[in-house]
Amino acid sequence: MRVTEHPILNFQKGAKVKFYYNDLELEGYEGETIAAALHANGIRTMRESIHLHRPRGLFCNIGNCSSCLMVVDGKPNVRVCVEKLRAGIRVQTQRGKGELK
């Protein structure tokens, strides 16, 4: 959900772009983070915990904590709280530790 009215801030948005979350086609704005775009679409789960496979979401939102690691265009362990949204990217829920190919 996006903030529609704000007493102080005026949010500057980039171009509207399409991207993919698992198999879902979604919209977001260029220049915002992937995590912000997912949240705007009501998606708050980013990955599964490694051992107990519990759902994990965003925690620190500034690149410290690694709670939000996802697979982006096939690359695992991307911190989507600081990675910017680009047109056409494929974002997937990360399961396990991820492998560098």
């Binding site: 903030v3 529609t4 915002e32 912000a36 949240h39 915990s49 519990r54 965003l58 500034i62 904590c65």
Partner: protein
């Protein structure tokens, strides 16, 4: 290998003022930040700051960030590396950096570490569910990106951050069900707290979170009253229908590089965790490595800006740079810092700083 006189790690309030002061004295500075912008966490602070005029009172953090970042960009003695992550400190004094998937090596003569802090979590069942965030995380989401974390929030912690973020959530059109605080009194300044109370948000002191509910995401929370000995009172549980839980239970300094550099560290709870020992020049036990801001102890942005200015002056002075009014500049900052930390509000910080002194 790139050479520079002073390398500053972190472009938040401390790093920016450090860079400006050092460059003003004449030093060549390289300022490194892992984000693609400068300003650190100031960029989401929409509230007005406190303190005296010199401490930029009544200005909003977002405007301070903009102003300092512009000044740094316009200063020709400062080289700015953004989107650049410092990876390590080596014992020959070399700093390694990743920028645009390139590996850089920098050999500075002096280093100012201004890496900031990280939000703490809290132990309770289901504390890892999506929908549980650091309060600062939600502040970033709402104030920087204009995106809501959910519909109805439980804020855990009534210090300044918890109360300010609660108010900013209301401004963004998000409901705040309650603010809870384990201590018998709130930690926030009343000017902030009275705003949320006037808006109808209850603040429950002497309460903590017992557990979060939900399978895949947060669907609710149970809070419980604490007695005078911080023990939960059975039967005092209350269920709250919330889809967001914000933890505002303090920060800890981001000290990895200082540990790596072999700086002497000490656990000082008043300052948020392990902090580097430092002398009155803000120099650590490793000669030539200075610290400023939250990395040296969790405080507010105003203190970080003053410490940054002090570290910038001292590092440049150690390289032989000077100004006719150097002593006066430095004394003024020291005096302002002491004022900021005076009174009952600053007591905890003062106690912490005594323990973090380098003899």
């Amino acid at each position: 290998m790139k050479q520079t006189e002073i390398c500053i790690v972190g472009g938040g309030p401390a790093g920016l003022t450090a860079a400006l002061k050092a460059a003003a004295l004449g030093a060549a500075v390289t300022l490194i930040d892992r984000n693609d912008y400068l300003g650190g966490q100031l960029i989401k602070q929409t509230h007005r700051f406190f303190g005296s005029k010199q401490q930029r009172a009544s200005e909003r953090g977002i405007n301070i960030a903009r102003e300092l970042a512009a000044a740094v960009q316009n200063e020709e003695r400062i080289t700015v590396l953004t989107g650049a992550t410092v990876l390590g400190y080596y014992k020959d004094g070399v700093i390694t950096v990743e920028q645009n998937e390139q590996y850089l090596k920098i050999k500075p003569q002096k280093i100012i570490m201004a890496t900031g802090g990280a939000e703490k979590s809290l132990a309770f069942p289901n504390n890892d569910l999506p929908g549980i965030y650091g309060a600062g995380a939600v502040q970033t989401l709402v104030n920087v990106y204009g995106v809501k974390p959910g519909n109805r929030v439980l804020m855990v912690g009534a210090g300044n951050i918890g109360v300010i973020v609660s108010y900013q959530l209301l401004q963004a059109g998000v409901e705040v069900a309650a603010i809870i605080e384990a201590a018998p009194a709130i930690g926030a300044y009343w000017v902030h707290a009275s705003k949320v109370v006037r808006a109808g948000v209850p603040i429950y002191t002497g309460h903590t979170i017992k557990r979060a509910w939900g399978e895949k995401e947060v669907e609710g929370a149970t809070i419980i009253r604490l007695d005078g000995k911080w023990q939960p009172v059975p039967g005092s549980e209350k269920d709250l229908d919330v889809d967001v839980i914000c933890l505002s239970v303090g920060l800890s300094p981001l000290t990895e590089l200082l540990w790596q550099a072999g700086c002497r560290m000490r656990f000082v709870p008043e300052l948020g965790g392990h902090v580097p020992l430092r002398n009155e020049l803000l120099e650590t036990s490793v000669p030539g490595i200075y610290v400023a801001g939250d990395v040296s102890g969790i405080e507010e942005a105003s203190a970080a800006m003053m410490e940054g200015a002090l570290a910038g002056l001292n590092a440049a002075k150690a390289l032989g740079y000077d100004a006719p009014d150097f002593a006066q500049q430095r004394d003024n900052i020291i005096k302002e810092l002491a004022e900021l930390r005076s009174g009952p509000v600053g007591e905890k910080i003062r106690n912490g700083l005594v323990k973090a002194g380098l003899a």
